[in-house]
């Protein structure tokens, strides 16, 4: 277990403030935040490149805050991978073992080389490798010394989507096969929620929320996090009624009332409270006239004001009747074509109450 206790680290005028986290072993922990939020600084402090101003880092009940990098037992893969350019692939991989004069892990290294399929690269110079090959070599190099903890600093940010997805599966495979604990930073939502068992949101040097993958995705604690988690539709409202499982929210911007499930945030709600509701663009359904019945929740009538194409997806700006705002909707091309959607078309949409987030 890695515990970060009230950690404050400053670099120039920027500082991470009072970060506390408990990261159990055997999981992939994602630190997610926009550029300049302090993710790299936090990871570098965990690995040991930066010393904390206050607070401590405790690994398996041992304070490692003042230990040098080489004594912490956390392998590191930086964003640019930093493969040693004067060495071959094999020399890069064996570097740690040679430094530590370790001959026990050669079998493990051989196994990793096979798992990642890089045996054919061993005699090549690292300067002649593709992006994906470099990633694999960097991963094997980091794990070759038998280290169970891996710190990854946005290692896939420069890769093409296909290669990125392939490496996500590789990371999960390595994690399960070698019982690894991964501390990874990223600004990519898809990557974070695909790989992370836990996700911590870091914005502007402050840790705003931490929890399991689902907890964070479905229950962002404030509007700042909700916006960062791509909840593009945020509407203010007032609680009209609450029952055991649901709450009815009056939304003047949408000119209607919306029914929502009472999540953690909703437990304390009472009539008259001011709330914000959030809807992800992909969670808005397009309905056909003839199919409308009671099973559809939160049905809104209106028209499509704008259409934007995004490859296999389309972004629609939907304006509810008498509404004062737009709802952003993301639909796949198949739905777009089957509903013959065009700019200005009258449309009916619905949002399941389970897909509406109370903030």
């Amino acid at each position: 277990m890695l515990e970060i206790r009230n950690l404050t680290v400053s670099v120039g005028i920027f500082s991470l403030r009072e970060v506390s986290l408990s990261l159990p072993d055997g999981q992939c922990h994602i630190i997610l935040g926009p550029t300049g939020s302090g993710k790299t600084l936090l990871l570098e402090t965990i690995v040991g490149f930066k010393r904390p101003d206050t607070g401590s880092i405790v690994l398996d009940s041992r304070d490692i805050s003042s230990l040098p990098v080489e004594a912490r037992g956390i392998s590191y893969v930086p964003q640019d991978l930093a493969l040693f350019p004067h060495m071959t692939v094999e020399d890069n991989i064996m570097y740690g073992l040679k430094i530590l004069k370790n001959t026990q892990h050669k079998e493990l290294v051989g196994d990793m080389i096979e798992t990642l399929g890089i045996r054919y690269l061993l005699n090549r110079s690292v300067t002649n490798l593709s992006g994906g090959e470099q990633q694999r070599v960097a991963l094997v190099r980091a794990l070759a010394i038998g280290c169970k903890r891996l710190a990854l600093d946005e290692p896939f940010s420069a890769l093409h989507e296909t290669m990125k997805t392939e490496l996500w599966f590789i990371i999960l495979n390595l994690m399960r096969k070698y019982n690894l604990t991964i501390y990874m930073i990223t600004h990519d939502l898809e990557e974070a929620f695909f790989l992370g068992n836990t996700v911590s949101i870091l914005i502007n040097g402050r840790l705003l929320q931490t929890g399991t993958n689902r907890e964070v995705w479905y229950n962002p604690q404030n509007i700042e996090i909700a916006k960062f988690l791509f909840i593009r539709n945020l509407f203010n409202g007032e609680v009209l009624a609450v029952d055991e499982n649901t709450a009815t929210i009056k939304c003047p911007e949408l000119n209607t009332s919306i029914t929502v499930n009472r999540n953690k945030r909703g437990l304390a709600l009472k009539k008259g409270d001011a709330v914000t509701i959030g809807i992800r663009p992909a969670n808005v359904l397009i309905l056909e006239d003839r199919k409308i019945n009671d099973k559809y929740e939160n049905v809104l009538y209106g028209r499509v004001a704008e259409v934007f194409s995004k490859g296999d997806y389309h972004i629609l700006h939907f304006v509810p009747e008498e509404g004062k705002t737009i709802i952003e909707i993301e639909i796949p091309d198949t739905v777009f074509c089957s509903h013959c959607i065009t700019k200005g078309k009258k449309t009916i949409v619905s949002v399941k109450r389970g897909h509406i987030i109370l903030i």
């Binding site: 690995v47 040991g48 490149f49 040098p68 990098v69 080489e70 912490r72 956390i74 392998s75 590191y76 893969v77 930086p78 640019d80 930093a82 040693f84 350019p85 004067h86 570097y95 740690g96 430094i99 530590l100 190099r141 980091a142 070759a144 010394i145 710190a151």
Partner: protein, 258 residues
């Protein structure tokens, strides 16, 4: 005229400036006299002394420059800016002033004590080595610093996360990566030391067959109005210096293409 042509013209104009200076020496060139001067015991002594002192001074300069440059490149510490500024001293103060400073130092109690307890510097070969070292150490450190600045610290950080101590990371990663830079710094320092005159003559004097490096020999021949001898020695100095630099660049180019 295009910008490219203009810049190439500028490069050639610098070349022609030096080429004309070298070519003008040939006006006083006498083949028989040149060979006699080249093979004379006094000239051979000067050549040997120059090569010996320049090589020793360069070796010491590089040995001091690498760790100093590493500290200046990688760490923040009190006095860093002052050290960084003082590296330019040999370029700001004239070589003669630098030699005079050394001479003054060895005439104060600490300097005299050093000479008494270690080796003689004033009017001795050691003085030439010291003068060349003082002239080249700052330049070598500055060159090494710019080489190390170009090598990302990430390599060392990764090496340390793989178990290397800071010293081991430096030796196994940074040093091999800066090999070409070290060679370039050594060549330039050596060339600077070979042609060093002002500081050397001030501290070591101009004693024939004792402290007579090639630049000092040139000065001595010129002072006695021996123009042909001066020309012969200048040509020897230019051939040794430029020849070494050219061959070193050739080898470096071949190595980086390999």
């Amino acid at each position: 005229m295009s910008f490219k042509r203009l810049s190439i013209l500028a490069a050639f104009s610098v070349f022609f400036l030096y080429a004309v200076l070298i070519a003008s020496l040939l006006y006083f060139y006498r083949e028989g006299f040149f060979i006699r001067t080249l093979l004379s015991e006094r000239t051979l002594f000067s050549v040997k002394l120059s090569l010996y002192t320049a090589t020793i001074a360069t070796a010491i300069s590089i040995a001091v420059a690498i760790p100093s440059a590493y500290a200046l490149s990688r760490f923040q510490f009190k006095g860093k800016r002052t050290i960084d500024t003082i590296l330019e001293l040999p370029m700001i103060v004239s070589p003669a002033a630098l030699g005079a400073m050394l001479l003054i130092f060895f005439n104060n109690p600490i300097g005299m004590w050093i000479q008494k307890t270690t080796v003689q510097f004033v009017f001795a070969v050691n003085g030439i080595i010291l003068a060349q070292f003082v002239t080249t150490a700052g330049i070598a450190t500055r060159l090494m610093k710019s080489v190390l600045d170009e090598i990302p610290t990430r390599y060392e950080e990764v090496a340390r996360s793989l178990g290397a101590t800071p010293a081991k990371a430096f030796i196994t990663i940074t040093l091999p990566l800066s090999r070409n830079g070290i060679i370039a710094a050594a060549i330039l320092s050596w060339a600077k030391a070979l042609g060093e005159f002002g500081a050397s003559i001030t501290i070591a004097g101009s004693m024939a067959m004792k402290t007579e490096t090639i630049p000092i020999a040139i000065f001595m021949r010129l002072a006695s109005a021996d123009i042909e001898g001066t020309v012969a020695l200048i040509l020897i100095l230019a051939v040794i210096g430029l020849g070494t630099l050219y061959v070193a660049r050739l080898l470096k180019g071949k190595k980086s293409r390999a």
